[in-house]
């Protein structure tokens, strides 16, 4: 029963993240939606898979995939944000303050 609730939560978060990627005004806010919702949704769905499978070697491998997504996804988004700031892409008009450079 728990796994179905986790699947539902993960799917909801994923859909909201995809809508955020479409709706937000500039690159940095889109990265917010992409990173957080993707990582949170993946963690929820994969933990649901682990709960459904029970203890075993296959669950350990699923946990390894979870750990990789969890630790490598922020690195990619950080690199993309820094590169687009150095590339010269300005933040949108709503931005309050820009202390970087």
């Amino acid at each position: 029963m728990i796994e179905y609730i986790l699947f539902l939560a993960g799917c909801t978060v994923m859909v909201l993240g995809a809508v955020g990627v479409i709706r937000f005004p500039d690159v940095y806010t889109r990265l917010h939606a992409a990173t957080k919702c993707d990582t949170g949704g993946s963690i929820s769905i994969l933990v649901g898979v682990v709960v459904a499978l029970g203890v075993g070697m296959v669950s350990l491998k699923v946990l390894l995939v979870l750990f990789l997504i969890f630790s490598l996804n922020p690195v990619a988004s950080h690199a993309l944000a820094r590169a687009s700031h150095k590339f010269g892409i300005k933040p949108c008009e709503m931005t309050v303050v820009d202390m970087y450079e």
Partner: protein
């Protein structure tokens, strides 16, 4: 002129403190402890990737991991802080620190997702790039802090610059609450800074 001299002396003291702490903590734990930590992590990875508990792969993995950990111990375990009792710290790390971080993190990830959902639906964003300071110095610790900041509600790390007191992180904040560096640091970092200070230097 006298004010200038005081300023210079303060600056010199900061530099001296920086160098001393680098020398003290830069050495890290002892060599056999580094080899042991590297071996444990590599062997765990090997077992998970092999995916069986038969005897021949485990023996082969033990041999390969021993060789690799003797060759490459300084890449992986260089940034761990030196301490008094090694084995009690290892046990504390596995049984107390990791569950503590997972427990803190679970609620913050849920909060982050709810937050982004609210911003997507209502569009009440107020973005900006602020700067926060941390006293962590080693590369592993700063990377971990930046990753955790990226996954906690409303923040995304842009860049890291080294300063005398540690490191400065530039953070894109989707809903700016304050402009001062210290308050922003307290809000953004939470308790993660102290948690990382127990393990890394």
């Amino acid at each position: 002129m006298s004010k200038m001299r005081f300023y210079l002396r303060e600056r010199l003291d900061t530099v001296k403190e920086h160098i001393e702490s680098q020398l003290q903590y830069g050495k890290g734990i002892r060599t056999w402890q580094k080899i042991l930590v590297t071996f444990l992590v590599l062997y765990l990875f090997w077992i998970v990737l092999i995916g069986s508990t038969a005897t021949p792969p485990l023996v082969l993995g033990a041999g390969v991991c021993t060789l690799l950990s003797i060759l490459t111990y300084d890449f992986f375990a260089r940034d761990i802080r030196a301490g008094e009792n090694f084995f009690s710290r290892l046990l504390m790390f596995v049984f107390i620190y990791i569950p503590e971080l997972a427990f803190i993190f679970l609620f913050r990830i849920i909060e982050a997702n709810v937050n982004v959902a609210r911003h997507v639906i209502l569009m009440d964003i107020n973005p900006g790039i602020v700067r926060i300071d941390t006293t962590l110095r080693s590369h592993t610790a700063v990377t971990a802090l930046a990753n955790i900041i990226t996954l906690t509600p409303g923040t995304l790390t842009l860049d890291v610059k080294e300063t005398l007191e540690g490191n400065a992180l530039y953070v894109h904040w989707i809903d700016v609450e304050t402009l001062s560096t210290e308050e922003a640091g307290e809000i953004i970092k939470g308790g993660v800074d102290e948690w990382l200070h127990r393990i890394f230097w």
